[in-house]
């Protein structure tokens, strides 16, 4: 078995990996919290979120706090499954090279 085959291309990027890690342990996280957590620019974060959203790994909820927009993100069922498979593949990689 080749564990590399099971590694999800979607999570190759450190930033997408970080976004997923945060969403896995929180019911939802908003844009600004993700930005502070990952310490990246708005544009950079938005483009990675778009990629994850288009692959239906995460879902977006747009809301308001007062008059300010508050966009929160959470992981989808499919995304959770994909991320767990990716973790298992990483684990497999470490074990197989021992």
């Amino acid at each position: 078995m080749n564990p590399i085959r099971d590694l999800n291309k979607m999570f190759d990027s450190r930033i997408r990996l970080g976004i997923m890690s945060a969403l896995m342990v929180n019911a939802s996280v908003n844009f600004n919290e993700l930005k502070e957590l990952l310490d990246i620019t708005d544009g950079n974060l938005a483009s990675h979120l778009k990629t994850l959203e288009e692959s239906e790994t995460i879902k977006v909820q747009k809301g308001f706090i007062g008059r300010k927009t508050n966009t929160t993100y959470s992981v989808t069922k499919a995304g959770e499954k994909a991320f767990k498979a990716h973790l298992a593949a990483l684990e497999q990689m470490i074990k197989s090279t021992k």
Partner: protein, 211 residues
């Protein structure tokens, strides 16, 4: 970097991001030390007040017999000032640390920590106020320690996990003091003063010494 090293680095990154996004990790050891010092100063003032009113007798029963409304008033002021001083100094050091770590002081992790510790503390506060209204002063110190201990154990899921042991310490002291009524202030000083200082020092040693 080999595939194995890459995988390990990825896993470490995941773990770190999970921690940082779900737990409030900027709690500073100095906050514990500062809160402990405030508690000891407060306890010292309270003790002096009680001793001078009861002339060497430290049990609170004596105080009620003398109709010590003024004393009770003074003690409430000492307690309030102690709490405010401890809260401000603890927040200050934690604020400084979160700034240094580049993490926000108020985020979803902080709000979860805040609510989960606030609930047992607020309920405990109401319980203690009602107890005092009914003239039950012997159990004030044990109740403070027990509710605070429960709050810490509950909150430990949302911040540095070691705070759980501080909670266990407060609970143990609180339970013990149930059988040593009249020495409440000493137990209170041990828990809120000494234990905080020890905890704060250990936390500083473990997490902050190197940076």
């Amino acid at each position: 970097m080999s595939d194995q090293q890459q995988s390990l680095a990825d896993l470490q990154h995941i773990k770190q991001m999970m921690e940082r996004s779900s737990r409030f990790i900027s709690l500073s050891g100095f906050s514990g030390i500062a809160a402990g010092i405030c508690a000891l100063i407060g306890a010292w003032f309270a003790n002096r007040k009680i001793s001078c009113w009861t002339k060497g007798d430290c049990t609170l029963d004596g105080l009620i017999d003398q109709g010590g409304v003024q004393l009770l008033n003074d003690l409430m002021w000492i307690a309030t000032l102690t709490f405010v001083a401890a809260f401000i100094s603890a927040t200050l050091f934690t604020y400084l640390r979160s700034k240094k770590n580049g993490l926000p002081l108020w985020g979803s992790a902080t709000s979860r920590l805040f609510w989960n510790t606030l609930i047992p503390i607020a309920i405990g506060g109401i319980f203690i106020i009602r107890m005092m209204q009914l003239g039950q002063f012997e159990l004030v110190a044990p109740a403070c320690l027990i509710f605070y201990g429960l709050a810490l154990v509950n909150g430990s899921k949302y911040t540095l996990g070691e705070i759980r042991y501080l909670g266990y310490g407060q609970l143990a002291l609180g339970i013990m003091s149930l059988w040593f009524t009249g020495y409440g202030l000493y137990f209170w000083g041990m828990g809120f003063g000494i234990l905080h200082i020890i905890y704060g020092f250990l936390m500083w040693y473990k997490h902050e010494r190197n940076n």
